[in-house]
Every structure is written in structure tokens, then in C-alpha cells.
Assembly symmetry: C2
Homo-oligomer: 265 residues x 2
């Protein structure tokens, strides 16, 4: 997905985000789930949109993204798009085709369309599929992406732990490939693992083996009210009960300016 | 900086963020600079705080964080804290000691104290120093961290480029150590470089040599109004004019579910 602009240096152009514009498409991040972690820009666009696209997985009876912004919903047209959680690229794209068609059609009828998504639209999000399809049909200037607070930020804040300071490197990745996770532990000072749900037990084993189990923090459903589960011991959650929407942060070490200065001298 | 909680599994406890509480300290991220990229939670806490701590570098005549939330400021006590941009850990901590003392004193007098910071308080932020000092003096339950949109998110949104999808790894680090940057190019699908200002020319050389120059995006002062400068060609900014507060994102490749499935089979 790339909506890169043709000319290399782009002049500042003030975009009016006070309300959703007719014919424009907005991929809007609504943050981790708490209604007050929505940005003012996101709130205004959602409130003023003609059409709201809201993805929901087949397993859940309600869209979490829609629930998050429930108090901003009035008479907008709500398109509740059920998607399949398949790890198959071509089937996933096919699944998004119809909602992309609908979005383009609405925009061409001078409606404003907002797709809401939990977290940030550009961090492991369903917005990527929609944006790549819509980018082929609508003028670039009518497509906008609004950032949102991602789960790793909410998790770090709940534990009050710095993600990066000074010369630290932070690596973020899915927890699915344990070989890649093992390699990553040697490549950063902070490791953020998404989609950790099914892999908590293996992760706990790996981290214990590396002497890092005490430096791991787990959050499931961070900032999603009473569903929120936090733990400083991965073993607490390895029974799979708290599996879905799990983020693990491992504080491996710290790279200070002084280390850096020594290296340079 | 670690305010880890003693018990390993933490029960959900609803914290009231509708207004800043007497005796409580809040490290609040205000996002990249656009007033409408502040979250509702941050806005409410800033509006209702007794004391606002706002860091500003010696070089700038006004705090960018304070400017961002200017419309939320009424009769709060404003503590404009000048800090030195030294890459020296002990001097940096000493510099933060007096503002930590003031914050603790105000909290003990039942005032609510909010430190505002550009971006996210846990991503290369001055909040880390203040939080580690205050964590030694105040009860953990009275210290809160509120996430904010970080510059890499604002930058990615302005270019409409996915940061991560499917099995992608994203690595975030300062651009200061070119050897570490070179190694990082082989360790992720998306590389985010902070503090790139002084290093644009060397980065352009490195990326050209690796055949990645066309995949790099640069944003200086992203979402800071007319100061914003975007470019798809790092050479445009290698004269140093657009140096300060520069974020570079390099899209190195993509790791799909299908690659992953093949690896597993």
C-alpha cells in the first residue's frame, strides 16, 4: 500500500479536518478502545461523516471500533463489514473488494466516508487493504489517514514503562514466528509483540530460557474497560483464557548516550 | 524507568480521567503538534490541571507542546522548564531534579500536576526522566501516563503508507549511529529513524548504496502547520535547513502471511 506523491518535495497544504468533506475517504484510528483515547480530529470526522465503515470479525457480535465511538454516532449510515480472519492474502483482498466498491460509490455520490479501525490505521490494521483498493479508484487528494493510539502505547502507559529513551531501539512484530522472535531479542532494547494470544506459553518458555521472563509485561484488551487484563508474569495468561488481542512488551536492555559516546570515541 | 506493580496479575481498576485529581501526577502526550491530534483524555486532564509542566529547549523561544494545547490553557500555573539538550545522562537527570522536586511538592499540597510533552511520553521523551524521579517520591497509584500520537505515526499518515501489515517487523531507532542503522536495514521490513536532522546526507548515501533511496520518506515538523516539510527524496533535505525534528521511514520490504505459511510448511 503506497499512495506516494509524484513530486519528491511536498509543499505544506493545510487540510481542513474540522468536518468530513463530501467525496472524501478517511481511514481513522480510534485508539485501543477507551472512548476518551480518541483524538479530537478523529471525533470530528466521525461525527460529521455521511457513512461509517466499521469492520468486525466473524467471531464478535459487535464492532469494538464502533463501540469505542458510540457517543459520536447519530444518523450516519453504518456499514458493518464482517471480515474473515484468514491468514490468506488473496482471500483477504477479495473480502475487502465489496466494501471498497461501496466506499468509492458513496464518495462519487459526494458523500463523506470514514472507515474506523481500532488502534492506528497503519499498524497491523484492516485499513491497509481498504486503502490500497480505494487508492486505485479515487484521487489521492481525497484520501486521508488519521493516526490513532496503538495498543503498544496503551500497554506501555498502563505499566508506566519507557518504550525508548536515548539510543534505544524498539522492534515491533507479530508473535507468530518464534524463530523470528528469538532473533529479534538480540536486535533491540525493547521488543513489542502483537497477536501474542496463542503463543503466550511458548513465549514464556523462550523468555525464561533467555533470562528475560521478569522483564516481560502482558496486556490483553488494554483500555477496553473491564475486559482489560494486565500481568507481569506471562505464565498467568498461558492458559489461553486472555488470549485474543494480547500485547507483550519485553524490556531487554538500555542503550544510553554514554554507551554511544564511548563507541564513537 | 519502571513503575512495575508488585503483584504479577493486575485486576482492572477503573481510573477516572475526566479531570485531573488532587495530588496526582500525569505525564501527558499531546501528539505531534496539531491541536486536533490531542486525545480527549489529554485535553480534559490539561484543562482541569492545577499545574502544567512544559519542557522547552534552550534554543526555542516557546514550548511547542504548550503551543499545541494553547486553547486548553486558562488559569493553570505554568512551569516553563528549560532543559539542556546534552547527550549526557547524569547532567540530564540533574537538570530534571528541580522540576521533579516542584512537581512532588505541588502534589503533596493536593494540587494536580500535568507534564505535557510532544508526541508520546514513553517514546524518546523528556517524560522518562521526570517519571523516574517522581516514581521514587510519590505513591505509584497517583502517577499516570497518557499516550499521544508519535511523530512516526503522523509521518506515515501524511504519506498514506502502511507501517506494518501481516508479518512485517518495524524497527524504530535514532539515526545517530550509522553502523547500527546499517545493521537494522537487514532486521525489519520498515525502519523508522528519529532525530535524523544532522544525518540526512549520510543516510541518503547509505540508502542509495543499498538500493533503498526511493523507498525512504522524510517528514520534518510533521503536523506542525506551515513548518511541515515532506519529501520522498532525502537529498532535498540534506542541506540541513529542515534538520531539526526529522523522521525518516524506510519501507524495506513486506513479509506476508503466505511467506510465513511457506516457512511453516
Amino acid at each position: 500500500m503506497d499512495m506516494a506523491i509524484a513530486n519528491s518535495s511536498i509543499q505544506f497544504e493545510s487540510t481542513d479536518f474540522r468536518r468530513a468533506m463530501p467525496g472524501h475517504f478517511y481511514a481513522v484510528g480510534v485508539g485501543p478502545g477507551a472512548p476518551d483515547l480518541v483524538t479530537l480530529r478523529a471525533a470530528r470526522l466521525i461525527e460529521s461523516a455521511d457513512v461509517i465503515i466499521t469492520p468486525r470479525s466473524r467471531r464478535s457480535d459487535q464492532s469494538l471500533a464502533l463501540k469505542t465511538v458510540g457517543n459520536l454516532i447519530g444518523d450516519q449510515e453504518i456499514v458493518d463489514h464482517v471480515y474473515f480472519m484468514q491468514r490468506d492474502v488473496s482471500k483477504t483482498m477479495a473480502c475487502w473488494m465489496s466494501v471498497a466498491d461501496l466506499s468509492v460509490q458513496r464518495c462519487r455520490s459526494d458523500k463523506s466516508v470514514v472507515q474506523i479501525t481500532l488502534g492506528d490505521p497503519l499498524v497491523y490494521s484492516t485499513s491497509c487493504y481498504l486503502l490500497s483498493l480505494i487508492g486505485e479508484a479515487l484521487p489521492k487528494k481525497t484520501i486521508h489517514v488519521i493516526p490513532g493510539i496503538s495498543a503498544f502505547q496503551a500497554t506501555a502507559c498502563l505499566f508506566g514503562q519507557a518504550l525508548t529513551s536515548q539510543e534505544d531501539r524498539m522492534l515491533m512484530m507479530p508473535a507468530t514466528d518464534l524463530t523470528a522472535v528469538t532473533a529479534a531479542l538480540a536486535q533491540c532494547e525493547t521488543l513489542v509483540l502483537y497477536k501474542a494470544g496463542k503463543h503466550i506459553a511458548q513465549l514464556a518458555d523462550l523468555l525464561e530460557q533467555k533470562g528475560l521472563l521478569d522483564q516481560a509485561r502482558l496486556a490483553c484488551y488494554a483500555e477496553q474497560g473491564e475486559k482489560q487484563f494486565l500481568s507481569t508474569n506471562l505464565r498467568d495468561a498461558s492458559n489461553g483464557v486472555h488470549g485474543y488481542m494480547a500485547t507483550v512488551i519485553v524490556n531487554i536492555g538500555h542503550r544510553t548516550w554514554d554507551d554511544q559516546a564511548e563507541k564513537e570515541s
